[in-house]
């Protein structure tokens, strides 16, 4: 009951706020405000109210919300490269999972001798596979700062190397998408291997605490949620600043007419690489926040289908608008949670239909719907439609040339 009202109010508020968007600047601040406000309210309701209270928010909802926000961040990361730069990455799950593994390794080391075998150094899965000592790449991961650094450095570096190779050789369109898919697929296969020392299929799990706080305590969960909301807000603001800077405009220019940008003297591959790296870092941060909240990281996160799903969230929300990606991720995941519980045998029908309907009827996603509403409002009021318009209005489809070639 409580979650019902809560969710309704949450999405009601969000929707209302989005509907009132006039200029992206205002609306975005509104989004941040709502995000932080709702999180704060939920946290307070969870910690301060007794469980019997009708306004109490269960820890389940807190965790769920935390997960959604991580997904929202991931979706935003995909949107930055896809919506603004036309790089359709079908492998962003790789960066998300790598960030998650970094955090997972730290959490694993924090277990110490509380594992089932009581080995102070080795994680359980290494003990029962008879490993004698900790592999080199696990060294130092017991330090939070180091793990954090690695969880950003590794995906960042991977994105840089991949991007540098791909963009420099002007791999574009479908080819690029399929390559990103190959990348995450290869990583998935690699992480499935038990010899890799990341726990194989089971991945890393059974975490105990983080920075000394018990991960199962309500307080920690609330803190994690708030941290996620805060970081989402931060990355959102940062990403907005980027896309509204000249860099952002160059990126959109590259999306729509890359040769033009190049003949104007822009080294487009450089822009793409940095944007890709930035996006990968955002995805990695999302992954890092995701793992302590859901309590497990395993190679399934690398699965190409997961990455495709993220793209679908963005499409549902509306690509080329940062808030669209966030709303899309929240909505689709909420729908998934509801559907899997309400109609466990048929939820894939509902989800599949949703995807088809959204793509066919709402090419710009829900954000496009809002914009359309806004435009008609503006037109009826006889205003001049000359204000700054978000990048989502771009009609061009960079991939067309290649695919139709």
């Amino acid at each position: 009951m409580t979650t019902v009202e809560h969710n309704r109010s949450l999405f009601g508020n969000l929707a209302g706020a989005l509907a009132q968007l006039r200029a992206p600047g205002e609306g975005s601040s509104l989004l941040v405000a709502i995000l932080l406000g709702v999180t704060l309210l939920m946290s307070a309701a969870n910690l301060l109210l007794p469980a019997e209270s009708p306004l109490y928010v269960s820890t389940y909802t807190i965790t769920l919300m935390g997960k959604y926000l991580c997904f929202a961040m991931l979706a935003m990361a995909v949107d930055i490269v896809w919506g603004y730069c036309g790089i359709l990455s079908l492998g962003h799950g790789a960066f998300f999972a790598l960030g998650g593994y970094g955090m997972g390794m730290y959490l694993m080391r924090q277990i110490g001798d509380r594992g089932v075998y009581g080995n102070p150094d080795l994680p359980d899965f290494m003990v029962f596979l008879n490993w004698q000592e900790l592999p080199w790449y696990w060294q130092g991961m017991d330090q939070f700062w180091f793990a954090l650094l690695m969880a950003l450095l590794v995906p960042g570096l991977l994105a840089f190397v991949f991007g540098w190779l791909a963009f420099r050789s002007r791999v574009t369109g479908v080819y690029l998408s399929i390559m990103t898919q190959a990348l995450t697929y290869a990583l998935m296969l690699a992480f499935f291997r038990n010899e890799m020392g990341f726990g194989g299929n089971n991945g890393l799990t059974d975490f105990k605490d983080m920075l000394g706080f018990d991960l199962q305590a309500d307080g920690t969960r609330v803190a994690l949620l708030m941290a996620t909301a805060l970081l989402l807000a931060l990355t959102f603001v940062a990403s907005r600043a980027i896309v509204q800077s000249r860099l952002g405009r160059v990126v959109v220019a590259i999306r729509d007419a890359e040769p033009r940008a190049r003949f104007l003297g822009y080294r487009t591959e450089g822009y793409k690489v940095w944007l890709f790296v930035y996006s990968a870092l955002v995805a990695a941060v999302a992954g890092m926040l995701y793992v302590p909240q859901v309590g497990i990281i395993n190679p399934g996160e690398f699965s190409p289908l997961n990455s495709i799903e993220v793209v679908v969230w963005v499409a549902v929300g509306g690509r080329g608008t940062l808030y669209g990606a966030i709303v899309g991720a929240l909505l689709v995941n909420y729908a998934k949670t509801r559907f899997t519980a309400v109609m466990p045998d048929g939820w894939l029908f509902a989800l599949g239909t949703l995807f088809v309907v959204v793509t066919v009827l709402l090419p710009k996603g829900l954000a496009g719907l809002l914009q359309r509403g806004r435009t008609t409002d503006a037109e009826t009021r006889g205003e001049n439609n000359t204000g700054e318009v978000s990048a989502g209005d771009a009609p061009a489809e960079p991939i067309t040339g290649e695919a139709r070639a």
């Binding site: 405009r249 959109v252 220019a253 040769p259 033009r260 940008a261 450089g270 000359t386």
Partner: protein, 277 residues
């Protein structure tokens, strides 16, 4: 060269390492010639698009390139702007810059601007932003992150807007412009970049006669301060602007001279028998 020799070479005290030498940006036109193209050949799958082509363009000149489809006009532009690699030959910008050693972005930054056959502008941006992005200046990703327009740059954009006659459309999305307006915007974008050499591919395609006339005026006014190379099929238009015309045929220069000279050239007549002349 063996390793020690290489190392010695690296450690010589009387030279600076190549990557520490500041890149010389300014083009040297002390011989009045801004573009030297010599012995250029390009082939695609056996088809010779350019065949030992030689071309010299003087600084400040307005040059028209004409020729039938497949004569190699666009390929020549592609090579000059770094889009296509050539099989043999050389292309120098002034006396000091080897164009073949640079990529598109570098060539653009050196001061060679190019307008495409099909008008290509950033449709999701306003006219103003289109021009802003074209301004001369640092084009690196990091500087773009913090870039803001200076007063001088604003003035420059305003001037360009006036030149191309899009003052009233400055906040319109480029995608919403008419075909002719897009052509102008693209020329405007080149102007904003303040290039030394402009390569303009079919500027009046799809324009009304009136628009074409204005374009002709614009181009002639640009010559002198800039060097302009125009590729065009419309002979009327070429006649209205041309001082020197180069005729390309099968990837090589067939004739060069004033419009009249060219039109009376027996080779040209033979090739273009009955056409336009």
């Amino acid at each position: 060269m063996n390793v020690t020799a290489q190392a010695r070479e690296l450690l010589r005290r009387d030279t600076t390492w190549p990557f520490l030498v500041p890149r010389q940006r300014a083009v040297d036109v002390s011989h009045q010639v801004i573009l030297y193209v010599e012995g250029l050949s390009v082939s695609f799958d056996g088809f010779k698009a350019l065949n030992d082509l030689n071309l010299y363009v003087n600084d400040g000149e307005l040059r028209c390139l004409i020729g039938a489809n497949g004569a190699g006009k666009t390929t020549l532009m592609d090579v000059i702007t770094g889009k296509t690699r050539c099989d043999s030959g050389s292309a120098w910008f002034g006396r000091n810059i080897d164009l073949l050693a640079h990529d598109e972005a570098a060539i653009a930054q050196l001061g060679i601007g190019r307008k495409f056959q099909k008008p290509t502008v950033f449709e999701a941006h306003t006219v103003y932003t289109n021009l802003e992005l074209s301004l001369k200046g640092s084009k690196g990703a990091w500087s773009a992150l913090t870039a803001a327009l200076t007063g001088e740059q604003r003035d420059r954009i305003d001037r360009v807007l006036e030149t191309i006659g899009l003052v009233n459309a400055r906040y319109q999305l480029a995608g919403a412009l008419s075909h002719g307006q897009k052509q102008w915007l693209e020329i405007g974008m080149l102007l904003a970049a303040e290039p030394r050499l402009l390569l303009i591919d079919e500027p009046v395609a799809g324009m009304t006669a009136e628009e074409a006339e204005r374009t002709a005026e614009l181009l002639t006014s640009l010559a002198g301060e800039h060097t302009v190379i125009v590729v065009e099929h419309d002979m009327e238009f070429v006649r209205s602007i041309a001082r020197t015309v180069t005729v390309l045929h099968q990837g090589a220069v067939l004739a060069e001279g004033t419009m009249d000279q060219v039109q009376n050239n027996p080779d040209v007549i033979e090739v273009y028998l009955g056409e336009d002349a």
